[in-house]
Amino acid sequence: MSRLAGAFVPLGAALLAFVFGAVMILALGENPIDGLLAIIDGAFGSGERIAATAVRATPLLLVGAGITIAFRASVINIGGEGQIIAGALLSTAVALWLPDLPKIVLLPLVILAGLVGGGFWGAIPGALKAYASVNEILSTIMLNIVAVQLMNYLLRGPMIDPIEVEGTRIPQTERLTDNAALPTLIEGTRLHFGVILAIIAAVVVWVILWRTPTGFRLRAVGHNPDAARAAGMNVERNIVKALTMSGALSGLAGVVLVFGSESLRLVTDGGSAGFTGSAGFNGIVAALFGGLHPLWTIPSSFLFGSLLTGATELQRDLQIPNALAIALNGLIVLFVVSSDRARGWIKDRFGAAT
């Protein structure tokens, strides 16, 4: 199948998902065209909204870029949520600990802490899979829950805003130092440096995967661990590496969520989505939709970012619950995954026989 035709498959999947979405809007008694217009308006209706869309897409892109590494190495990382939280916690701790460092030192340090925190949270299931054959799907999901509880504990106890101790005990940190805030790109909007960081990260992932021996090994292990081992590669080490790198990028998403936020603090609502906005899961969707290619994940993340911001407008204008956006996400995944099946089926059916 040609590359061009390959690109049409996800687009077709998206189209089908939108048709289903239209049916759902119809079922709710609204005009789907109005719905679509509301989404577009919500996502791109003003400079501010475009900025919001980009900001929304940023953690998706970071998580998604990481996911491409893991999935290319045949490691199914569903632990984006936990890795985001781990990265956010460690970077926040650094900012709380060293608030007086100059920005030029503190910001890189905070970013590094996010990478390390997320990477560590990814390395755990990586090591469990590599050396104890623990299924990484299960362990990453479970570590999501562990991370949430760790966050709840830290934000209610050691890291809580001192004001809240006397006050309402809202589980959140104090406002972090401006020295650690991600610089704003365009004054008056929320567009911050994290967007550029994410795009750079995606490009770097692409370079690593296809232009370096490290990525070569990850892909070899992903496609055929037996052949990789026979060729002298250390399969276990590469599994750990894949999950660590994947987790590190999710950790960076955690940094962006905290240090790119207006409130500039880490807040929990007791669950995970309150802080992450489900970026750890939506990033997987974005990566799958981007064909597990880090560069295609860039437009894919922006598409899903616009869907998420647009859904807010949909809710405001037409009183359609923004759960519809979540349903659309799911439908797109369903169609993308099944279109892969369809592709395989087409190949089997009409490909050259032996």
Partner: protein
């Protein structure tokens, strides 16, 4: 023996697949009571032709005549109804069922809910006695040897009154002794009037068994002959379409120091039972040591232990004097080992990777290919282009997915990668299994070339022709042990074959 009307006549069969002409105007006939061999390389069209006969494919053109009348065969069931039987290369048996149950599987009798197994058993005994197909009907199939399972397959076909029996590469999995037994059975069948199509690429077997031989190449018939009028050389040339060199010249080479040493090696197999038992081997530089043996006698485990892919229980291994006992595959390679694994698509290459990437699978970290931390793509392309050229790997481009190449070309690619790294020891397991004669000839020449350069070569093969063509010494493995090591000059096909059954 023969009658005027052939039992089977295929007339001008043509079958096209997208981009491939699998059978081009092929005519082929079998008389009652004869063995007609169908000889050809992989992809020559043998299997396609037989699948048409068995109703798995439909011919685009041509006719199938059975007993002088045009037949329409739309499915295996209709083939069986018309008394055509097939023994597939990969047995179609349920291991957990008994012989009787396996034979009864798929028998249709609308009047009964389940077949009368006692009656089936009785009939199996009759067939067994008639043709010397000894097998206990009530035994579970998993307990049977490969040769016995094959007999069950033949019984299955005979039970369904097959008059024409197609055997697809039936000797591929058998020991030389089992092959002899099979031939006795097949001769009894032909004496009783069965017509047999014998598909093979093993030349000496075709010569020993057949009444007539038809050679296919690229979907076309390229030769029809009888054993008395031909020989291996001529048959090979008909198959390949050019002159071939079945046994490469092996110039006399001064052997060097011991490059690979295995001593007192014990290895446990996948089932937890001993697979390699107290094996001692020394291979010197400039020497090819062939390991003969029926598959499953510990060769694979021995190879994997040497390559660092399998834990060893006891014993030691050294490569070029360095102790490599229990090291990782990467360390074994660093010590000078090149490894051509038995299963090329599982262990030898990454199917999804392109040709250039697979050529880089071992040496991807080499500084030659890296500039400023990134792959030097020009160097990699140049390297790949050179190897593809030098090792005659037929591929449309350097960026073709490896899985779309033919088995022979994938094997040449693996050989290119493994031999180009200036190894001290080459471990090649089944280097030409499933590879066509042309590629096999080429691979053999390359191995002999390495021997000439002072490399120690260990070839593991189930193909005695290959072992005899290459080896300076022949070690025979049986039941995990090396039961005997022959000097090439003292080894005969008979003595080695006998040792393969454990008789020394």
């Amino acid at each position: 023996m023969t009658t005027s009307t052939p039992l089977l006549e295929l007339r001008g069969i043509t079958k096209r697949f997208p981009g491939v002409l699998a059978n081009d105007d092929v005519s082929f006939d079998v008389r009652t009571g004869e063995v007609h061999a169908l000889l050809g390389e992989n992809g020559a069209g043998k299997s396609t032709l037989m699948k048409i006969l068995f109703g798995l494919y439909q011919a685009d053109e041509g006719q199938i005549m059975l007993r002088g009348e045009e037949a329409t065969i739309t499915s295996p069931t209709s083939a069986i109804e018309q008394r055509v039987g097939m023994v597939h290369q990969h047995f179609m048996l349920v291991p957990t069922l008994t012989v009787v149950e396996n034979v009864a599987l798929g028998l249709h009798d609308a009047r009964k809910l389940r077949p009368d197994l006692d009656a089936v058993g009785a009939r199996i005994r009759e067939i067994s006695e008639e043709y010397g197909l000894e097998v206990d009907p009530d035994i579970d199939v998993w307990k049977l040897s490969v040769g016995e399972r094959q007999r069950v397959e033949i019984i299955k076909a005979l039970y369904r009154d097959a008059e024409l029996l197609v055997l697809d590469e039936p000797t591929a999995v058998l020991t030389p002794q089992e092959v002899d037994d099979l031939f006795v059975i097949l001769r009894q069948l032909t004496a009783a009037g069965t017509g047999i199509v014998f598909i093979s690429h093993k030349l000496h077997e075709v010569l020993a068994l057949s009444d007539r031989i038809t050679v296919l190449r690229n979907g076309r018939v390229t030769g029809r002959t009888v054993p008395a009028e031909t020989d291996r050389q001529q048959l090979a040339e008909m198959m390949v379409g050019r002159e071939v060199d079945l046994a490469p010249d092996r110039p006399i080479v001064e052997t060097g120091p011991v490059r690979l040493s295995v001593s007192g090696l014990h290895v446990t197999g996948d089932r937890g039972t001993p697979a390699v038992v107290d094996v001692d081997l020394d291979v010197r530089g400039g020497e090819i040591l062939g390991i003969a043996g029926v598959s499953g006698n510990g060769q694979r485990e021995l190879a994997e232990a040497i390559a660092g892919l399998r834990q060893l229980d006891r014993g030691s291994i050294s490569i070029d004097g360095a102790d490599t006992t229990g090291v990782t595959p990467g360390m074994a390679r660093a010590a000078g080992l090149s490894y051509v694994p038995e299963e090329r698509m599982k262990d030898g290459a990454v199917g999804e990777f392109d040709v250039a990437e697979n050529l880089l699978l071992v040496d991807h970290g080499d500084s030659r290919f890296i500039r400023n931390g990134l792959f030097d793509r020009d160097q990699i392309e140049t390297h790949a282009a050179r190897l593809v050229e030098e090792y005659a790997v037929k591929t449309p481009t350097l960026h073709t997915p490896t899985s779309s190449l033919s088995g022979g070309n994938i094997q040449k690619l693996i050989m290119a990668r493994e031999l180009d790294s200036d190894p001290l020891v080459i471990l090649a397991a089944q280097p030409t299994r499933g590879v066509d004669i042309g590629a096999a000839e080429y691979i053999h020449r390359r191995l002999v070339e390495q021997r000439g350069e002072g490399v120690a070569v260990l070839v593991i093969s189930e193909d005695l022709d290959e072992v005899f063509a290459l080896s300076d010494r022949i070690a025979v493995m049986f039941d995990g042990a090396v039961v005997k090591i022959f000097d090439r000059a003292d080894a005969t096909r008979e003595s080695v074959g006998l040792a393969m059954t454990g008789v020394v």
